[in-house]
Subunit: 316 residues, 2 copies
């Protein structure tokens, strides 16, 4: 049996106090949290659901991985603006018959990642719910006017991605096929590392014209950049960094890799790796083509339209 709401809040409060961030003036314990940003800074805010049997399964995902993934989704959004995370807020709905251990391990996984990036758990809500339902809010900051948006890509800009793509969905396919996997701490499916250092580095140097994280899959997320920037894109399939044990299809459409995709002017020198993370040029931005947002060059050098299949497709 899960402890009463008051006990759950107390255990959250204890865990939260261990990891203060000086921007948090007042954390858990009042009607609102109070945050003081650095002078001249703007606030970044993002929210992400993690719902049982939609975003994770209890029999597939170790509890600490569920807590880690829950926060990693929000941190990755902060990375995708070039920001610095400050605090997180957890709304947690739990079935009344859930073992207390589950809540404890979930919080441990979440708080461990929070600590790594100096993020204070500063509030949230608790409730009964028919399935485990977590909604994570992450607040971050950056100097006013410096957010790297999705809308800044120009025709001629080059397109880059960090790391390797497709491994998260490759793992998911094995889980769907009934395989039992032993999650390694370095698995990008079970313990994705948000690319905060890379996003921060790019923003500080004003190198990227547009930036997004790959949560829904390259074909969807690059589509968001094209929509917001009113441009199109051409990808070279031979350049896409396919993860070991993944395929080109998974690299193009698989979700939850939490790598960064960015565009930069062809005159900008982008290093081969940033903070130890490989960076690969995969294509270029083109003038807006109303018939196809994204084209892909296949093995034989032929162009075809890349459909935005992405994450939704693989979930069915």
């Amino acid at each position: 049996m899960i402890a009463t709401e008051k006990k759950l809040i107390e255990s959250i409060r204890r865990l939260a106090a261990k990891n203060p961030n000086r921007a948090v003036v007042r954390g858990i314990g009042d009607d609102c949290a109070v945050l003081r940003l650095s002078p001249g800074h703007e606030l970044l805010l993002t929210t992400d659901f993690s719902i049982e049997d939609v975003h994770f399964r209890r029999k597939w995902h170790p509890t600490r991985s569920v807590g880690h993934r829950c926060l990693a989704r929000g941190l990755s959004d902060i990375a995708a603006m070039g920001g610095e995370p400050i605090a997180c807020f957890l709304s947690l709905g739990l079935p009344p018959n859930l073992p207390q251990d589950w809540a404890d391990d979930f919080l441990k996984g979440l708080v461990r990642l929070a600590k790594q990036y100096g993020v204070q758990l500063a509030g949230g809500d608790t409730s009964a719910a028919p399935q485990i339902t977590a909604d994570i809010v992450v607040a971050g900051q950056l100097p006013a006017g410096e957010a790297v948006l999705r809308s800044g890509a120009h025709p001629g800009d080059l397109i880059y991605v960090t790391g390797q793509l497709g491994s998260s969905t490759a793992v998911l396919q094995k889980l769907f096929a009934g395989r039992r996997l032993k999650p390694s701490p370095s698995s990008r499916h079970f313990f994705p590392e948000p690319r905060l250092n890379v996003g921060y580095w790019l923003r500080r140097r004003c190198l990227a014209t547009a930036l997004i994280d790959l949560s829904d899959g390259l074909s969807i997320d690059l589509g968001h950049i094209c929509d917001e920037s009113r441009v199109s894109a051409l990808i070279d399939s031979r350049k896409v960094p396919v993860a070991r044990k993944a395929t080109l299809q998974l690299a193009l459409h698989g979700g939850e890799d939490y790598e960064l995709l960015f565009t930069a002017s062809p005159r900008t020198k982008i290093p081969a790796s940033i903070h130890g993370v490989k960076v690969t040029r995969i294509g270029s931005i083109t003038r807006k083509d109303y018939r196809s947002a994204i084209k892909i060059l296949d093995d034989n050098g032929k162009q075809r339209t890349l459909q935005p299949l992405g994450w939704q497709h693989f979930r069915k």
Copy 2:
């Protein structure tokens, strides 16, 4: 059938664009929202769940009331700090077979209240979920250091509440008893008005030493002030403003009235009404008594301990 996620997001985005707040630099459409606070101001942040069959029932609550109540919970938390709301973020989980009308009417109820207080819908998340699950985040601001906390009450301070208490739970009891009710727009159960003007007024004049909103019930929420301020309290049962059709028990323990409770020095002059809302003195803060946090004076002038029954109790 609910529209695809993309369509739902588009309809949210259309509604959101109608109601801009100048503190929102970037709303829906990027990885994070970007907010710029007024210079010298701090951020307030609060999150609240509204889950089907926990916080509302589809057969009891008109859909617009569910949307209104969802946002009112968060706005009431901003009021309870003395803040000014800026933006809200809605994470919305919907069952795949939900009629599209439900989502539309829910959003209408929410956006109507948002408009009334100049609050921009600036982001959120969408997902499939087994029951309707909404998590509302409200961001607000106030000048640095001016938040009215729960922790400022001193022995000798007087205790005040706004409005009348118990009407929300009185309605809930009728619904539990199988009565069909026609919700009036002035019902504090179906369309609670957050006391933003009162909280703002109190904070601007530095009149309250501690402030909280009555969401869980007087006996629990006054207990929070006692816990955080390390004091106790004495309530006069004859002074408690009991709403029409409610009882003293409902006024003491019923939840979701969303009135404000505050403490003030006995030297501070508190008017009989603020922004048209009645204010009633109901007791005083005493030195911390470890045996009973709150005492109540009954009809015969006898003191007894007031147990923190509150909202949880009435839900069972």
